[in-house]
């Protein structure tokens, strides 16, 4: 029977500010426990929060990047609950009036199975709001006790909430990846998932086509795309089985266990707390002037969506290529430098090399594009030689390898030094072909008898004789001419 999957994501992106959202303490990761917790973070009696404008600036940048409404007036509210790593007994967040309302993100969902095509998907955002992170409870190393580290307490977060727009784990992962790329692109979050700078909760439910929304379960704290895929796939499978076995889904919060690949309920709806939200009287409403928004807009980089459209328009790239190249600002920047040096007409060739050989080698070496041993101008130099037929694509791989190993300052040097220049002199090639024909009478005979395969063998022999330096197209043409003649 048919099932529809409905997924909404809530993402906590840690904002890249120097200090915390309501105190002057540093947000740097990895310090000894509690050394980055000041009086405000410790919630000493009498201390008060003061909003960090840099965190607001991040929220504005995000709002502009997803084409959302930046609220001219939003309100910080207290979310009240007791937990040892929540020093005040409440979290300062935003509730009724968030700083960012609406917005959307368009992404490309990769093909899941062979034969499928990648497709575009627009995910609508409900809101994004500013809030502070809690500290950490450390249960290991304390023998029956719990250690509290408040370094993270008060770290600024932007919680980004989507509509239940996604219909598969693949879509959810594609959204999360696009969001991850975007927050890094606009410089508001470092995206470090291991350190918890970017973490997602997935609300998952299933229903029959056309039926009202099913009861959802929320998978908490997904901190890798792989786990997200696994967790959602498992959860969907589990929910369908439950319903098909006649059991109703209970609203619950669940955790994904990567060791077993399963989700398990953490608390049910009955345990749901009443957070008693109310406006924080210690903070004035957050007012954002249109001037501040305009100023921020002027400082925004070209967004990946805009750049993608431009790549398609100006360089004639496919949607897939344009999306891949705009996955990060660094990759896009590298590609554009490459095109600038190699010429616009060679854009597709540049794209192929950046997404193909370069990406593969970087991935293998676990390097970012910024640390690439082959610079964009070196790659462009090589692409230009492919384009002007100085070298073939096949030979280019050797040139690239040499550039990667720093065997020469640029492609031209390497081509000269290694004698890789393509043979384009018709006379020379004809001479070679004559030699090949003389040496392979059997193949010639077969070809003339109608065996096309024999032709390929002759081309291969000719190429081999030139150590691959002959222009394959030219070889083809001349060979046909000779055989015909």
């Amino acid at each position: 029977m048919q099932w529809e999957i409905v997924i909404g994501l809530e993402t906590h992106a840690q904002l890249q500010t120097q200090s915390k959202i309501f105190s002057g303490a540093s947000t740097a990761f990895g310090a000894a426990p509690n050394v980055q917790a000041c009086a405000v973070d410790l919630a000493l009696p009498g201390v008060l929060p003061v909003l960090n404008k840099a965190a607001v600036a991040c929220a504005i940048r995000f709002g502009l990047a997803v084409n959302a409404t930046i609220a001219p007036r939003s309100v910080f509210a207290r979310k009240n609950y007791f937990y040892p790593d929540l020093p005040k007994g409440y979290q300062i967040s935003q509730f009724e009036l968030p700083v960012v309302k609406g917005g959307e993100l368009t992404l490309l969902v990769a093909a899941g199975k062979p034969g499928e095509q990648p497709y575009e998907k627009t995910v609508h955002l409900t809101r994004a709001h500013l809030e502070e992170d809690a500290g950490k409870s450390l249960h290991e190393d304390f023998h029956g006790k719990t250690g509290i580290d408040l370094n993270r307490a008060g770290t600024p977060l932007l919680e980004i909430v989507t509509e239940p727009d996604m219909c598969s784990a693949a879509e959810a992962v594609a959204y999360a990846k696009a969001l991850h790329a975007l927050v890094r692109w606009i410089g508001i979050c470092d995206g470090n998932m291991q350190e918890g700078s970017f973490r997602c909760d997935a609300n998952v439910s299933v229903r029959r086509p056309g039926a009202p929304l099913g009861t959802r379960r929320e998978i908490k704290n997904l901190n890798s795309f792989r786990f997200m895929q696994q967790a959602i796939d498992y959860e969907v499978h589990w929910q369908i089985n439950e319903i098909e076995d006649g059991r109703a889904i209970q609203q619950a919060t669940v955790l994904f266990d990567p060791a077993t690949g399963t989700t398990r309920a953490m608390r049910s709806k009955e345990d749901a707390q009443d957070y008693r939200y109310f406006p924080d009287p210690d903070l004035l409403p957050l007012e954002i002037s249109s001037a501040w928004i305009a100023e921020t807009r002027a400082s925004m980089p070209e967004l990946p969506s805009e750049m993608k459209a431009r790549f398609e328009r100006d360089y004639g790239l496919s949607a897939y290529d344009a999306t891949t190249l705009t996955a990060s600002r660094e990759t896009a920047g590298y590609f554009e430098e490459c095109v600038a040096a190699a010429g616009k007409s060679n854009a597709k060739l540049c794209a192929n090399w950046v997404m193909g050989e370069l990406a593969a080698r970087l991935n293998e070496a676990d390097l970012g594009v910024a640390a690439s041993p082959v610079s964009s101008s070196q790659l462009a130099g090589m692409v230009a030689r492919i384009a002007d037929k100085t070298i073939s694509s096949k030979i280019a791989k050797d040139v690239f390898e040499a550039l990667w190993n720093q065997a020469g300052p640029d492609a031209d040097n390497i081509i000269e030094a290694k004698g890789l220049r393509q043979i384009t002199d018709t006379g020379a090639i004809e001479k070679l072909i004559d030699e090949v024909l003389a040496a392979n009478p059997k193949s010639v005979e077969e070809y003339r008898a109608g065996k096309d395969k024999a032709f390929n063998a002759l081309v291969g022999q000719a190429m081999k004789a030139t150590k691959g330096k002959a222009n394959p197209q030219q070889v083809n043409e001349l060979l046909r001419k000779k055989l015909a003649g």
Partner: protein
Amino acid sequence: MTSAYVESSLTALADALAAKAISSVELTKLFLDRIERLNPVLNAFITLDRDRTLSMALAADARRAAGENGPLLGIPLAHKDIYCTQGWLTTCGSKILSNFVSPYDAHVVEQLKQAGMVTLGKCNMDEFAMGSSNESSYYGPVKNPWDIRRIPGGSSGGSAAAVAARLAPVATGTDTGGSIRQPAAMCGLTGIKPTYGVVSRYGMIAFASSLDQGGPMAKSAQDCALLLNAMAGFDGRDSTSLDRQAEDYTRDLAQPLAGLRIGLPREFFAAGMSDDVRAAIDAALAEYRRLGATLVDISLPNSGLAVPAYYVIAPAEASSNLSRFDGVRYGYRAPDYLDLADMYCKTRSQGFGAEVKRRILIGTYVLSHGYYDAYYLQAQKVRRLIADDFREVFKQCDVIAGPTAPNVAFELGAKSEDPVQMYLSDIYTIPASLAGLPCMSLPCGFGAGNMPVGLQLIGNYFDEARMLRTAHGYQQVTDWHLHMPEGL
């Protein structure tokens, strides 16, 4: 024999110190000796630290010797125990902070230290400033120096008793719904709650954040103005602190009162005010008329809703503000518990007193899902109506006058079993608190049991100087503020 200095005004003390007629150490010792003798009876102080106090006095004398000469340099004062004071026990009148030594100074404390004032000690108060009689303190009730069988008012009852008994020349207080004005009235003092946002709340332990405001408690309006000069000022650590130019609150004191329009809210003079209070208030108003002021009949139609609205808003904020006292990081923690929930439960059950628990419960209730709109939001709307009432009447008058409290100080225990009766002690002080307006109480006579009666003045926003001048003009022609309890 009582030295004349314990009765002196701040200006007289400043003059004596400047003339080197007395040193800060000598002056401080006079008060410390008096505290030593009288505090066991009055219980006005929770914490005293003679050595620490004298070292501050010594430092003040050194600053003077080095050429400094500020108006408050070397003058001792007492702090309400709601202000965090570095190195001092800071309890807020609660068991839950019975072991809390503050690692930092409140903004107010910092400012007064900078001015060279000497901390005599930390004054008793209602637990977390919740009370009107000082009976909710974990450290025992404060006695009214005018009659030790009676309450001194609250919550700044220790500060009021200390100044009234001349254990300190001035003291700091805080006012959420009347906690400076009502004890000032009960103890025959002058006390002012400035416009919300004038005095930084940084380091002032929060009761109800949208209402709390620090202010001075003193013998006269002039002393209040001098102390307020040092307490007020913008502080970037408090987001509700107002970034305004510093002002001298003494600047208008000498201005005559002729032509001043004093509004008398009908609702404050209706049934509820006792006859002795009414007589003293009426006499004070007659005095104002003699001084050339005009009395204007005004109405604050929504003031009757103030007490109920206040008892939704203040407990709501308090229930959240007091969540940090959880036994995890500092303060009292129950000695035995089974698990985390049990630790929270026992720590807070044992650490908080009955009145604080009552308000946490009320506050938790009114913020709960399904009740928020009916209580909290509704109360906020009422709050706006009350503020609008004031905005209207300030078109007709310059300052508002009325009683501070409906009765003189009652006897200890008289209302402690009936919280609603207790809450009604603040019926006249709460409206101005909800509106965030500056307001004060000054002594205007004696009522039943020869206990002091307080006249309340309410000014328009940032109009402290005019309000203080209204009080000062009266104190120039009357001597109620100079009376001192006998037999101490």
